[in-house]
């Protein structure tokens, strides 16, 4: 397969272990909600801390403390507005509360973790990313001229223009925001149709599957449950027609079934396991030389016989394993 640049938002990273793995980038539509959640969370935390401080101060009842507490309130406000993201990201491995809620994370462009320096830079430069600001008293004369509403066009434009969807702050410190997957299901297809294993036993023993062939088969079987039977045959026919000639198979075999048989042979076949139960075929032979007048039972549409199961439940795993030789 040619190493074409991916069209989607995955980005490959080479680790010190010399493994190339992929991250999925988080775009503006994941990052904006995360930022808004962060703003709200910041206000809630700040309100809680300040309220707690004043309640404790009220219980102590030292009037001399009041001025210091007012000063501390200002300082807390300052620290929370400017360093919330920095502290969160450097202590929680690239996550803030909003990022955690939206399932995203900040990493370096090399896939490594971010350090305090990067967290500081990217959070301070956020002010420039949120530009331009709309002055609210232009809209309504009543509003005092202290309210500025960030529009965030600068960050949005740079995000759209860069390959890794970075805003200015990310560009300056070499970070990117990636999707942190939390859905851990290993998709494995299992084939229940008993005719598949039988048909697979008719495939020539010396047939070798190329890489692209394996990949195509796997994609087909994973996707096939979303297709109607007619569509499955239409897609499968492209691949199976030359194969039927090659294997000397009858031309009226269901292409979908043949694809499943190929998948079974490639992924589920045990070496030296030739004891497939041929009774499912009802004495039918798919080979062209055995073609007889009888109606081929195999041309019938195969119903929903492939179900992806979650690898996580042990019950499904054992059932999966047990069903293969039986098929």
């Amino acid at each position: 397969m040619p190493a074409a640049a991916a069209l989607d938002t995955t980005i490959a990273v080479v680790t010190p272990e010399n493994i190339a793995f992929e991250y999925q980038l988080a775009g503006p539509f994941r990052r904006l909600p995360a930022y808004l959640i962060d703003v709200i969370a910041r206000w809630i935390i700040m309100a809680a801390v300040i309220l707690g401080m004043w309640i404790v101060g009220g219980m102590i009842r030292m009037s001399a403390l009041q001025a210091y507490m007012l000063a501390a309130t200002f300082l807390l406000y300052f620290v929370f507005t400017n360093f919330y993201g920095t502290l969160m990201e450097s202590y929680f491995n690239g996550k803030t509360i909003g990022k955690w809620a939206c399932g995203i994370r900040v990493v370096g462009t090399d896939g490594g973790p971010i350090d305090f320096r990067q967290a500081l830079l990217r959070n301070l430069i956020r002010i420039a990313d949120l530009a331009p600001y709309v002055v609210l008293n232009d809209v309504n004369e009543e509003i005092p001229p202290i309210f500025f509403l960030p529009v965030g066009v600068v960050g949005l434009v740079t995000m759209l223009c860069t390959r890794r969807m970075q805003r200015l702050g990310d560009l300056a410190c070499g970070t990117m925001v990636i999707v942190d997957e939390r859905n851990w299901e290993l998709p494995v297809s299992k084939i229940e149709d008993p005719r598949v294993a039988a048909l697979a036993s008719y495939l020539p023993a010396d047939y070798r599957f190329s890489r692209s062939m394996s990949r195509t088969l796997a994609v087909y079987v994973e996707r096939r449950q979303y297709l109607t039977p007619a569509r499955r045959r239409e897609i499968a026919r492209k691949l199976t027609t030359p194969l039927m000639d090659q294997f000397d198979f009858r031309p009226d075999i269901d292409p979908d079934l043949l694809m499943l048989a190929l998948y079974h042979r490639n992924f589920l076949w045990n070496e030296g396991d030739d004891s497939a139960d041929l009774s499912a075929l009802n004495g039918f032979s798919p080979l062209a030389k055995d073609q007889s007048a009888e109606e081929p039972p195999i041309a019938a549409a195969v119903s929903e016989s492939v179900t992806p199961v979650s690898a996580l439940s042990p019950a499904a795993t054992t059932q999966d394993a047990a069903s293969e030789p039986a098929g």
Partner: protein, 345 residues
């Protein structure tokens, strides 16, 4: 080759790695709740083993003919374990000591951006202070720049003495709480100057605007017959050197990033921005340190009943300290040059 069987064997280890990741994602290490072999050194070693195994599986996925769904799963698993193995570094004091006392002065001394920002800030500040102070020659300058209401409010605020015998707590309280506000406000200006630096023009604008407003206010308060001017200078003298230098430095650090857009030194623009941002970190660190020093001065010395002589002495001492820091520590040295060059290029 039976892929299902391979998956069956490997999946047990992958699940174990997932469990370890689950435990580590919460606290950065496996907790007491997890299994015995996942705790302490044994857990670390087990995690490393499982991670390497998963890496190998991913590398071999192609030759195993693993289905794409499984490969995607492995990519996610390896990425997840990778970000646990290489976690973000927390605050390291020794690195920051090096940045603050070694890199920052050298960088500040050598950086033309610092000169531009300092000249712009202190030049405009002095100019508008002169303009604001002479109401006969330049009538209405301070009013036009700062605004009448603002000036009156300031005058009123400093009208009450810093410290008086009969009413000591209330007026001291007032200045202490106001110093909290000033720290927030002035450091905020500095950080805004820094952030805007990546776009250059807003940075220069913010810096100039603040220089003019501050200068005009200072000039206005220095006029004869303005109420509270003694208290004002009593209040601002001690922390002035730290705070004003810090604002100029923050803008300089911002400009350093912004200059990276066009002064690329042969790099691509993005790499140049990244490099200039790295170079700006020591400057902004020095600026933040100065802001912190200014904050302590502003909180404890400026509003205190100490005599003006002490506060003026403090201002002179802090100016001397800043000069020492910038010039003596920052003077280019042969050894320092080599490390700086190797670090920057």
């Amino acid at each position: 080759m039976n892929v299902a069987k391979i998956l069956e064997q490997r999946r047990i280890q992958w699940q174990e790695l997932e469990q370890l990741c689950d435990a580590m994602e919460m606290r950065g290490r496996t907790g007491r709740t997890s299994k015995a072999q996942h705790q302490g050194a044994a857990g670390v070693s087990r995690f490393a083993t499982l991670y390497r195994a998963a890496c190998a599986d991913l590398a071999l996925a192609d030759s195993y003919h693993l289905p794409p769904g499984t490969v995607a799963y492995l990519h996610r698993l390896v990425a997840r374990a990778h970000s646990q193995l290489y976690r973000s570094n927390r605050f390291d004091p020794s690195v920051w000591f090096d940045i603050l006392f070694y890199q920052a002065p050298q960088q500040i001394f050598a950086d033309p951006c610092v000169r531009v920002a300092t000249l712009l800030f202190f030049g405009l500040f002095t100019l508008s202070m002169v303009l604001g102070a002479n109401d006969d020659w330049f009538p209405g300058f301070a009013d036009a720049v700062v605004g009448n209401q603002q000036l009156e409010a300031m005058e009123q605020m400093y009208d009450q003495p810093l410290f008086s015998v009969d009413n000591q707590t209330s007026s001291l309280d007032h200045y202490i709480s106001m110093s909290g506000f000033y720290i927030m406000h002035n450091t905020g200006i500095g950080l805004r100057c820094f952030a805007w630096g990546i776009l250059i023009i807003p940075c220069l604008f913010t810096l100039a605007q603040n220089a003019v407003i501050l200068g005009a206010s200072f000039g206005y308060m220095a006029r004869d017959g303005v109420g509270g001017s003694d208290n004002f200078f009593h209040f601002v003298t001690a922390h002035g050197p730290f705070e004003l230098t810090a604002i100029a430095l923050a803008a300089a650090a911002g400009l350093r990033i912004g200059v990276g857009w066009f002064s690329t030194g042969g790099l691509t623009r993005l790499d140049s921005i990244k490099r200039s941002a790295t170079r700006s970190v020591p400057i902004i660190t020095a600026s933040v340190t100065l802001f912190v020093l200014a904050a302590f001065t502003e909180g404890f010395i400026s509003p205190s009943p100490l005599p003006y002589l002490f506060k003026a002495g403090w201002a002179i001492a802090s100016s001397a300290l800043i000069s020492f820091y910038f010039v003596v520590l920052g003077f280019p040295r042969a050894v320092a040059d080599q490390t700086l060059v190797s670090e920057q290029d």
